[in-house]
């Protein structure tokens, strides 16, 4: 058995990453592509949200490297034995969070369960009370007395660690800038902290510090407590929310990867060739658009489920099953969402085919394929980019909605949608369990808000009509 497991979605996400890096390299040598990105970097909102998004991306990527962990006892015949379980690099890093499972619900930072149980006391008598948690606050001798001090102490350590880390990173940045510009460290530091640089490093550093402090703080607390409580089966909610990041990112990006080829190709073809090609493509997307998307998605997911239950032997682990379902969801979401971009591109191509430079190319006898790739495609790329970035947050939200109606990702997979779905019952319960929902909301909200703000900046940078008014 191979220790490294490459799931379908892992492969695709790293393919996408390679594609993005390739595009970055391509764009860095072309001024008309570089200038808008420079604008994005130089805007405060752009840089700030970029820092936030890269935190999410980092967790998502760490969570996309899967392997079989070595089984606990070392192999008898020299080699290590690998368990059949599949975990990710991220799981490995936060293994504490994963393994410390309680019995059932417990509130954030609690030391006791959220449900009363019959506890057998030392003298044999029983009493109904909230039992102590197995892991959360287990280090405390007397929870009532030490809890506050422990939380405060851990917070302080966390914050100090965060500050120290950001101080190191900040200085590294300053040294990098000093080396690049070739002037004194002191001068660069004053420029950066005074906010006089072209790139708002100060804002970037501020957001970075904030995130690092927050991150270290939660890491410290999570090491001794359940930061966001536990769910019905006692799993750490904070861990679930972190694991959901990968699902959200995947849905947001892979769907785009699926829909882009169809949307770009068909959209440009329809606009460029006109005639029956246009009619055909238009009918295709009008028809597709008039089928309710949820219906299509439900049908596709149900079909997949039947396939999986009939061919259970093809799947080595639960993770692989869940992964295939996620991939399928991305595919089907892509199929239902390419029409919007396709329509936009058709309109743009209709306009561009009549533009003088396309006419001039025709007069040179340049072939259709060349005209499309050299003249039309580069001139619609800004629309593609804007749509992709704008769609991202919509897709993350769509996943939540679909999981809520049970046609989203696999129930065993961590996703914000599943968390919200389970919260349906938790909210109806007395006393209310609010932390699953709250955790999902906080993480999703931060991601979607920064994605939206970022896409606003990107659109401003790439939209030629807005560019003139700047």
């Amino acid at each position: 058995m191979q220790p490294l497991v490459i799931l379908w979605t892992d492969a695709l996400i790293f393919l996408l990453l390679a594609g993005a890096l390739g595009f970055g390299f391509y764009a860095s040598r072309r001024e008309h592509l570089r200038a808008p990105w420079r604008f994005v970097i130089r805007s405060r909102v752009g840089l700030g949200t970029l820092v936030v998004l890269s935190f999410y991306l980092l967790i998502g990527l760490l969570d996309s490297v899967h392997f079989h962990p070595p089984a606990d006892p070392a192999g008898r015949d020299g080699g290590t034995l690998h368990s059949s379980e599949v975990i990710s690099l991220f799981d490995h890093l936060v293994s504490g969070l994963r393994s410390r499972q309680e019995k059932t619900y417990s509130a954030p930072l609690a030391t006791h369960l959220y449900a009363k149980e019959t506890i057998e006391l030392a003298d044999g008598s029983t009493v109904r009370d909230y039992p102590r948690l197995e892991y959360g606050g287990a280090h405390l001798a007397d929870p009532e007395r030490d809890w506050l001090w422990s939380v405060l102490g851990l917070s302080l350590i966390g914050i100090l660690k965060g500050l120290a880390l950001s101080l190191v990173l900040g200085n590294l940045l300053l040294i990098f800038l000093t080396l690049r510009r070739g002037c004194s460290f002191e001068f660069v530091a004053r420029e950066v902290l005074g906010g006089r640089c072209a790139i708002p490093w100060r804002t970037g550093l501020f957001v970075l510090t904030l995130l690092l402090v927050l991150g270290m703080w939660s890491a410290e607390l999570a090491s001794k407590f359940h930061l966001l409580g536990t769910d019905k089966v006692g799993e750490d909610v904070f861990y679930q929310a972190l694991k959901s990041i990968r699902t959200g990112l995947l849905i947001g990006t892979l769907t785009t990867l699926v829909m882009l080829p169809a949307a770009i190709l068909l959209g440009i073809m329809a606009g460029y060739f006109r005639g029956w090609v246009d009619d055909l493509i238009q009918y295709l997307y009008t028809t597709l658009n008039s089928i309710p998307g949820v219906l299509l998605i439900a049908a596709a997911i149900l079909m997949l489920q039947i396939y999986m239950s009939n061919h259970a032997e093809e799947f080595n682990s639960l993770v692989e099953r869940a992964d295939l379902r996620l991939l399928f969801l991305c595919l089907i979401l892509g199929v239902t969402s390419w029409t919007g971009l396709c329509r936009l591109l058709r309109g743009e191509a209709l306009k561009l085919r009549e533009v003088d430079y396309v006419q001039a190319a025709t007069a040179f006898g340049v072939g259709h394929f060349q005209i499309i790739t050299r003249h039309i495609l580069p001139n619609v790329l800004h629309i593609v980019l804007i749509t992709v970035v704008l769609d991202f947050s919509g897709l993350v939200l769509a996943e939540a909605v679909l999981s809520y109606v049970n046609i989203g990702v696999d129930p065993t997979m961590n996703s914000w949608g599943n968390m919200i779905n389970s919260a349906r019952l938790e909210m109806a319960r007395e006393p209310v369990v609010w932390w699953s929902l709250a955790a999902a909301m906080i993480f999703m909200f931060t991601l979607v808000l920064s994605a939206n703000l970022f896409s606003d900046v990107v659109r401003d940078a790439f939209d030629p009509r807005l560019r003139s008014s700047r």
């Binding site: 430079y357 006419q359 001039a360 006898g365 050299r374």
Partner: protein, 679 residues
């Protein structure tokens, strides 16, 4: 002094927002008297419109007036609170803009739009609002005003819309009308109508007009006094008669010299080198010094002050200090500017071995489809039977108003639009029958230069790649290195720096871009170039540069041109033959002398007479054409022109007149010329 209506003193406007603040208006003084027409003349980017907007306080958000005074009568417009200023706009000061298409609200009928202005600025007329609207429409010469008031802007033609704009401006009974390039977007015959209308309105109401224009012809015909603006400053002011008569600022002189015309045919046009400087730069000396060919050492170091050179005249030039006689001597009107060029006909004759373009009965019909099944219910006859030949090394000018199908002819010849009928032969090939790869191979023979130098190049490509694109497609120049070398040659040939290949199109000015377009067309060694209004988006001085370039190339390479234009002075300068188009058909064709000197078709005559001319002696009696060109989807019966023709007879409505040959080269389609007998 009490005759002064508007006095602008040291007006300075700043546009912030860029990397450096721009000064589009930099210390402008002007004075407009009651009832006169004052023209503000200059190339684009000189600050003419900004001056008008500053007077009206309608600057864009990044702009502000940095200093100066604007006195309208007794009130200083720059000191008024915004509420009072709103009453002045459209009240005492009316304004009309260049684009009548975008200045009207498309969802309100025109009666309401005029009424709105009446309500605001002419409360006295409120009780008889409808009547007043009708009066105004009548005043601007719109027939059947009561019915027209209920129509929406899209139902009106461009000329009509501009009339409605004028009616709106008149509603407030203005004392001053600011007309910002009021006819630039209109055809010559419509331009003549609108200018005539402005003149007669001025006589009736006694209002003053501030006319902003770049057209010297319009200045000569309309204005009483003229101010020339250059790079944010007024460089010369003069009464019109003297302005065109005697020597003035070198810039004004150069503008006259760069105007094309028949008398300059054999020579290169005088050009002003370079282009208008950026308004963000600092000017230590004279702003025109870099482009002036009479520049002195002093001009670069010391900015010239304003000097009065005569009654009502003044200019901003160090030359104004030298006595006039000396200045005249120095300039030498026909001197260095107009260099004689080699006679072109001889070269053309020697190049007869090349291929000839012949077009026979070319028709381009666009189907009009309606209903669910998209059935064809009719055709737009954009081009309806056009025939001509262009021998090698010659230029045929295709002249006509917009919408007459000239551009479609050009694209039909190039097979960019496949003709519905007819033949286009070039050399031995029948282009209309070629398809696919065979057509693609022949494409290098025929090339095109477009009107708009901004949209004719892919903004995402380097200039070098743009020029090399055709070479790659046609397989000219085998190696990339060879192609790069050829690109450098071509750039030098059109008068650009070879380093331009490494830059993007947006880094160049309009004229430079048009040169790149010429280089791109030349890259595949064409024999004929369709020039689709190549200079109409350019300023006069830049136009001269491009026309010279085209002329030189024709002499050197023996190219033929199909020159599509509406500018008759360009035709007179560079064409050998002229074909006048009206509604998809050629109504008159002949050599340039025949058509321009002795036009026979009434439409040609009307077209020629409508062109504003600088020289008062060259002016003809303007033949006013009524109405607009009919739609090509539903042309009038008989002669297409008869509903507008001042000489129409009842017979004209009967059948389309046959072509009458007046000489070997000159033919006309008119019943009155051909006489009876046309079927």
């Amino acid at each position: 002094m009490n005759r002064t209506l508007l006095r602008v003193e040291q007006l300075t406007t700043v546009l912030e927002g860029g990397t450096r603040p721009l000064h589009p208006v930099d210390g402008v003084d002007l004075e407009i008297r009651r009832g006169e027409t004052f023209a503000l003349l200059g190339e684009s980017g000189c600050g003419k419109s900004m001056t008008a907007l500053s007077i009206m306080r309608l600057l864009p958000p990044v702009g502000r007036v940095a200093g100066g005074n604007v006195w309208l009568g007794e009130s200083n417009l720059l000191d008024l609170p915004e509420t009072a200023m709103r009453l002045e706009r459209g009240g005492r000061v009316g304004m009309i803009f260049q684009e009548p298409m975008t200045s009207l609200n498309p969802v309100l009928n025109i009666g309401e739009q005029i009424a709105e202005s009446v309500r605001l600025h002419d409360p006295g007329s409120l009780p008889r609002l409808r009547q007043r609207v009708t009066e105004l429409l009548q005043a601007v010469g719109i027939p059947d005003p009561a019915r027209r008031a209920g129509e929406y802007p899209h139902q009106l033609s461009g000329g009509m819309k501009q009339r409605v704009m004028i009616a709106i401006a008149l509603a407030g009974r203005p004392e001053l009308l600011i007309a910002d390039e009021p006819t630039t977007a209109l055809d010559v015959t419509i331009q003549a109508q609108v200018l005539g209308l402005l003149k007669s309105l001025q006589q009736q109401t006694g209002m003053a007009i501030l006319l902003i224009t770049h057209d010297l012809g319009i200045v000569a015909e309309m204005a009483d006094r003229v101010a020339v603006m250059y790079a944010g400053q007024i460089v010369e002011t003069a009464p019109v008669a003297e302005f065109f008569g005697r020597d003035g600022h070198p810039y004004s002189r150069k503008l006259f010299d760069s105007l094309p015309g028949q008398e300059k045919r054999a020579a290169r046009l005088a050009v002003i080198r370079g282009s208008v400087p950026s308004l963000a730069s600092d000017f230590p000396g004279c702003r025109f010094a870099e482009r002036c060919d009479r520049v002195m050492a002093r001009c670069r170091g010391e900015a010239p002050g304003w000097r009065v050179t005569g009654p009502g005249r003044g200019m901003r030039c160090h030359l104004a200090e030298t006595p006039w006689e000396a200045a005249v001597e120095l300039s030498g009107r026909a001197g260095p500017g107009i260099a004689p060029a080699a006679p072109d006909v001889a070269t053309a004759q020697s190049d007869r071995h090349g291929e000839q373009l012949s077009v026979e009965g070319l028709r381009v019909h666009f189907p009009i489809r309606q209903g669910v099944l998209r059935r064809t219910v009719g055709h737009v006859r954009a081009v309806d039977g056009v025939s001509f030949e262009i021998p090698p090394g010659r230029t045929l000018a295709l002249v006509g108003e917009s919408g007459c199908g000239k551009t479609t002819v050009g694209k039909g010849v190039l097979q960019l639009i496949r003709p519905s009928e007819g033949s286009v032969r070039f050399g031995a090939d029948e282009l209309t029958r070629l398809t696919g790869a065979a057509l693609r191979r022949r494409r290098s023979l025929l090339q095109i230069i477009f009107q708009d130098p901004f949209s004719s190049m892919n903004p995402r490509m380097l200039v070098g790649d743009i020029i090399a694109e055709g070479m790659r497609a046609q397989g000219v120049g085998e190696t990339p290195a060879g192609r790069r070398e050829r690109v450098r040659q071509l750039l030098t040939q059109v008068g650009l720096d070879a380093g331009a290949a490494e830059r993007y199109p947006h880094e160049f000015s309009g004229g430079q871009r048009q040169r790149i377009c010429v280089a791109r067309a030349l890259a595949v060694q064409p024999r004929l170039i369709v020039c689709d209004e190549p200079t109409s988006a350019l300023d006069v001085s830049v136009q001269a540069q491009i026309l010279n370039l085209l002329g030189d190339l024709q002499r050197e390479l023996g190219l033929s041109y199909l020159f599509i234009t509406h500018n008759l002075s360009v035709v007179a300068y560079l064409a050998h033959e002229v074909a006048v188009m009206y509604l998809g058909r050629i109504v008159e064709r002949g050599t340039v002398e025949e058509v321009l000197q002795a036009p026979r078709h009434p439409y040609t005559r009307a077209l020629l007479s409508a062109v504003p001319v600088v020289d008062p002696e060259g002016r003809r009696e303007v033949i006013r054409l009524e109405g607009d060109m009919p739609s090509p989807s539903d042309p009038p019966t008989g002669c297409h022109f008869h509903p507008r023709c001042p000489e129409a007879e009842p017979a004209c409505a009967g059948s389309y007149p046959r072509v009458t040959r007046l000489s070997a080269t000159h033919c006309v389609s008119c019943l009155r010329v051909g006489g009876a007998g046309a079927d």
